[in-house]
Amino acid sequence: MDHPNTIEAEKLVREFKKGPRAVDGIDLHVDAGEIYGFLGPNGAGKSTTVLMLTTLLPPTAGAARVGGYDVVREGPQVRANIGAALQEAALDPLLTGREHLRLQAALQALPREERGPRAAELLDRVGLTEAADRKVRGYSGGMKRRLDLAMALVHRPRILFLDEPTTGLDVQSRTALWDEVGRLAREDGVTVFLTTQYLEEADVLADRVGIIDHGRIVAEGTPDALKAEIGRPTVEVIPLGEDGRGPVAAVLERFGTLVPSSRGIAVRLEGGEAGLAEVVRALDAAGVHVAQLELHSPSLDDVFLAKTGRSLEGHGAE
């Protein structure tokens, strides 16, 4: 029987006692080798979804298959095929980084002779070789996250779950982790299910994004498609002098509908971002002097705002 590296959920529900529906009937399909970004604010249901898909929490209703295995009936097979780095990197402060990896390898029943070399390989890959034999109580947050990722990869999983993997990391660590996740999907064909509250992270990494709010998926698609869905980019022009406003507006209205702007004159480009070059050429041809010109592309936050009526920026971790 063929077991693809896919993640599928159908009407997945999780209710907690005396609490609301944390996940309220979501449907998911993540293709093999795809990086799927699961985006949402605090308490939206991202982590609960991950817990169900990784067999750590049974669903109240609905069904899910991970790697072709049912998360309720075939938990051992699911766990054998997935790796997961959860929101809090729960590590044992009394073990070293290398010991953690060897422990994980033993839990996954890797042959004894493979455990040492595999640990060394992963420590090197996540840049922890020098700290490998230090107890993790002395590790920084970034080092713990990287070790957590390495532990998730010990048994060469086909599917990887990363629950807010870069929360609290500095820019350098975040970029290194993005590179590694991207490499895993591109080179190793690993399917990645990534929850995040960072719009940039979803934008940079994810092939497709699902936006969850109040336990329901409110939007899904590629980042570009989602952004295009809610509107076209806007060009905002600030003329050099006050008397330039009229000529600038006359040029810009040829490219789309003028929209309000507090600083200058703005137009929503009918032709999309490709129209920017023509705008610049037209302003130049009209002899208009421009102090500043900015292209505003719709962001995933704009998408979130459009779909939920709230902004995602500024929300803390779930």
Partner: protein, 255 residues
């Protein structure tokens, strides 16, 4: 095979933490030694009470109790570690990494047994060093250790079930108190025949009384109530293994 691998990994990690951490290993050895010294040394004149007929002396009489006590509390202390693993989130890592989760329970039980074997060896050396006399044949003493190992298994499985239900260090007293009561409602200081009143009635039905009497019989070289003792210890171990596995299922359901 995978279950065994999980059990060995969990046991290795527990033992590694205990034996590389003086704060955990010293109490494990010091407490039984303290009880042994206090009971066998400080109360040695109890042996002179009329009707107290134990041929190997009060040191051997108390050694059996302290050995069984160390087996029971060795299990409970390992249970504290399980509760801590849930509180810190490490248990979730084990639940996620282990394809077969019953191996986690087996691993904690294996760790508790290995932990206790070290304590038992230490206590035995001390007991012989202070002149404990042992009667009978060579098989009697190993039979006592086997009985104690069953007590250890029952205790860790009890504690494991509690830890997995409550998933908090606050479960500690709940793990400890029943074990403490069962131990001290047995004939600790004098043989069962010398107890009177309600404590005699309670001790009579206490399953640990059978274990204690049989253990003292082994050390004296005159085994008594062996089948009842093994039956009680093994019965508790089986009962609490079901309790622990049900606890594991509850922990899984709680996420």
């Amino acid at each position: 095979m995978r279950n065994l691998s999980v059990a060995r990994a969990v046991a290795w990690r527990t033992l590694h933490n205990v034996f590389t951490n003086p704060g955990l290993v010293i109490p494990q050895l010091a407490f039984p030694l303290f009880f042994f010294t206090a009971f066998a040394g400080g109360l040695s004149h109890i042996h002179d009470v009329r009707g107290f007929a134990y041929p190997e002396g009060y040191t051997a009489f108390q050694f059996v109790f302290v050995l069984l006590q160390s087996a029971a509390f060795g299990g409970v202390f390992t249970g504290f570690g399980i509760a801590r693993d849930f509180e810190t989130g490490f248990a979730r890592r084990l639940l996620l990494a282990a394809p077969h989760r019953t191996g986690i329970v087996s691993g904690y039980a294996l760790a508790a047994l290995c932990r206790w074997l070290v304590t038992a060896a230490f206590l035995t050396c001390v007991a012989f060093a202070v002149g404990m006399k042992v009667g009978g044949h060579g098989v009697d003493l190993p039979a006592l250790y086997l009985l104690a190992a069953l007590v250890n298994a029952a205790a860790i499985l009890w504690a494991c079930g509690v830890a997995m239900r409550l998933r908090s260090m606050q479960a500690g007293p709940i793990m400890q108190m029943p074990v403490f009561l069962v131990l001290f409602f047995a004939p600790v200081y004098v043989p069962l025949g010398l107890l009177t009143g309600w404590i005699h009635a309670v001790a009579l039905v206490n399953p640990l009384t059978r274990v204690l009497e049989a253990g003292r019989g082994f050390v004296a070289g005159s085994p008594t109530e062996v089948a009842a003792a093994y039956g009680a210890a093994a019965g508790l171990a089986v009962l609490f293994s079901l309790w622990a596995v049900r606890g594991l299922r509850k922990a899984e359901a709680a996420g």
